[in-house]
């Protein structure tokens, strides 16, 4: 018997607001989804092992890696509420199998790019309303002409980038949510709280030309903040995505020097926001 296989033309990812229609995510490079059951092994005097029982949250995790191929990103509109979606797949593009995720909350939104790469935009979510095969799903496909931002078309505004060669950036926004579980809810929470502040973290690696690190003691009563802008442009120069972090606090600086290598520096900034909406409006608008 010959076994079939699923490879990338056989797979599509869809996502949408919980209870609303979904749309296909474009530029998906990878999809990872999974769950584990928090079993407790029960032991009883007179018997020893007497079975397993669920003793914790029944949740699953999904992470999706994407190349930025469009100026539109449906995920930015889904950061402040519950989502559902699925990976549909099937051998020879039959798309007859499904991996659903339900009542998910996006917990991370990341973007990065290094020299020679296409800029990426990844996200992760935690599903509280079931994950795995939940229902049959249909698929649709609309072809697009990818509009990518390559490293040589990214304009970065920093305190050091005009005279020191930036090699890469990495942006990560964490949306730390906690369910409010209630007695009798059967592992399906409907109330959630967001742990504040929302933290956006951005780091840069660059070759040193004239950079000098600030003295850490200047943080005692000094200005350690910067306004950072990452403008992702197409080859002709039109903008497809901009990330803005105003008043980002310099968090750490790491300098590496060695024989045979160019001197490099890594710097990391954090920016803080008092709501998910505030973070989305400030960073992604």
């Amino acid at each position: 018997m010959a076994y079939g296989r699923n490879f990338y033309p056989d797979q599509q990812v869809f996502i949408g607001q919980l209870g609303s229609s979904v749309e296909e995510l474009k530029g998906v490079q990878s999809f990872d989804g999974g769950w584990s059951v928090p079993y407790e092994q029960m032991m009883a005097a007179g018997h020893d092992y007497i079975g397993n029982e669920v003793n914790g949250e029944l949740v699953g995790e999904v992470s999706v890696s994407r190349s930025i191929v469009s100026s539109e990103d449906p995920v930015t509109g889904l950061l402040n509420g519950p989502v559902s979606g699925y990976l549909v797949y099937g051998t020879t593009q039959s798309y007859d199998k499904v991996f659903n995720f339900n009542r998910g909350y996006i917990t991370s939104y990341d973007s990065s790019c290094s020299l020679g790469d296409v800029a990426s935009c990844d996200f992760g979510l935690t599903a509280y309303g079931g994950i795995g095969k939940i229902s049959n799903e249909s698929r649709s496909y609309t072809a697009i002409t990818p509009t990518v931002a390559t490293a040589n078309n990214i304009a970065v505004t920093t305190d050091f980038g005009s005279t020191n060669a930036i090699q890469s950036y990495s942006l990560s926004i964490a949306f730390d949510r906690a369910p409010v579980n209630k007695i009798g809810e059967s592992f399906s929470p409907t109330d959630f709280t967001t742990n504040l502040p929302v933290v956006a973290n951005v780091s840069f690696d660059f070759l040193v030309n004239d950079f000098e690190a600030q003295n850490v003691r200047e943080s005692i009563c000094g200005d350690f903040t910067s306004n950072l802008i990452l403008a992702l442009n197409t080859c002709p120069g039109s903008n497809i995505r901009t990330f803005t972090l105003n008043n980002a606090s310099l968090l750490d600086t790491s300098l590496q020097a060695g024989i045979g290598d160019n001197m490099t520096v890594s710097v990391t900034y954090d920016a803080y926001y008092n709501s998910v909406t505030g973070a989305v409006d400030a960073i992604l608008s």
Binding site: E40, A44, A45, H47, G51, E53, I183, G184, L196
Partner: protein, 277 residues
């Protein structure tokens, strides 16, 4: 023969009530002590010791709640003065009295019961109990259990605990080493509820109502008789048992901390002196 956890099966049997129950205990502890009477006499610097009365001890059992029989064998001894025989593996305490019973509900966790017995007279020991087969149990679980605490204005709760305790007066008599008389004194049942403040009706959870500190009609807000019930179910949605408290709202508190909704805690307390003498 070695004595292991597998030899320590727990069961109880009421001497007067005919109520029996066996338990899937995840921990058991037994402790006993002897009251010593030390005295000296004039003219001598030596000290003398005698035992004042027979040893007394306690047995604490934490167990998975799996059947209604387990619960009724405990609640059937509320306010009762008849002794209970408690067997823990090879150990036997023939003159025991139920002291307390409690359990807690959490939304995601299985429900463990906890019971404590006081016993009078030294524990006896025999041969280790035979090892029984290992069944697969389905214990009560907070994810499926149902609570009804609407009378104190709570529509849903994030935590709940049921606590029962009772006290006795144990009398001894000259010429006897064991207890000669058991008199029931008081029992207290408490239902403690943790909820989000947004899920609690403020007026209904108030300690006093429209009549101030005077008692209101049952069902009304304020100082009136309140009832809270807990229906224990397992993850297969099978009902295991139901327990309730009918008393007065005794305390209310609010807590606020970063990144959490304001929480509110309430407790309903029922005190009774009705029992066997």
């Amino acid at each position: 023969m070695s004595l292991t956890f597998k030899n320590m099966g727990v069961s109880i049997s009421g001497s007067d009530s005919d109520l029996t129950g066996s338990y899937y205990a995840d921990s058991v502890s037994i402790s006993e002590s002897l009251s010593e009477l030390n005295f000296a006499t004039l003219g001598s610097n030596s000290n003398n010791s005698v035992s004042a009365k027979a040893p007394e001890g306690s047995i604490d059992v934490s167990f998975y709640i799996t059947t209604g029989n387990e619960i009724s064998a405990i609640t059937g001894h509320y306010g009762k003065t008849g002794f209970i025989e408690v067997n823990v593996g090879p150990f036997k305490a023939q003159k025991s009295l139920l002291e307390s019973f409690s359990f807690g509900l959490e939304p995601l966790g299985l429900i463990m019961g906890s019971m404590t017995y006081s016993y009078y007279g030294q524990i006896e020991s025999g041969t280790p109990a035979s090892i029984s087969s290992s069944p697969t149990i389905v214990p009560a679980h907070g994810a499926k259990s149902v609570i009804d605490v609407e009378s104190v204005g709570v529509s849903s709760a994030v935590g709940l605990s049921y606590d029962f305790s009772q006290t006795y007066d144990i009398g001894y008599s000259l010429g006897q080493t064991g207890p000669a008389r058991v008199t029931f004194q008081e029992m207290t049942k408490t239902l403690s509820i943790d909820a989000q403040a947004q899920d609690v009706d403020f007026s209904q959870s108030s300690l006093t109502g429209t009549s101030g500190i005077c008692q209101n009609v049952e069902g009304e807000a304020g100082f009136s008789v309140k009832t809270g019930t807990v229906t224990l179910k397992n993850l297969c949605d099978e009902t295991i048992g139901e327990l309730g408290v009918t008393g007065f709202l005794e305390s209310r508190s609010f807590d606020a901390s970063p990144n959490q909704n304001v929480s509110q805690s309430l407790s309903i307390t029922e005190v009774s002196r009705e029992g066997e003498c």
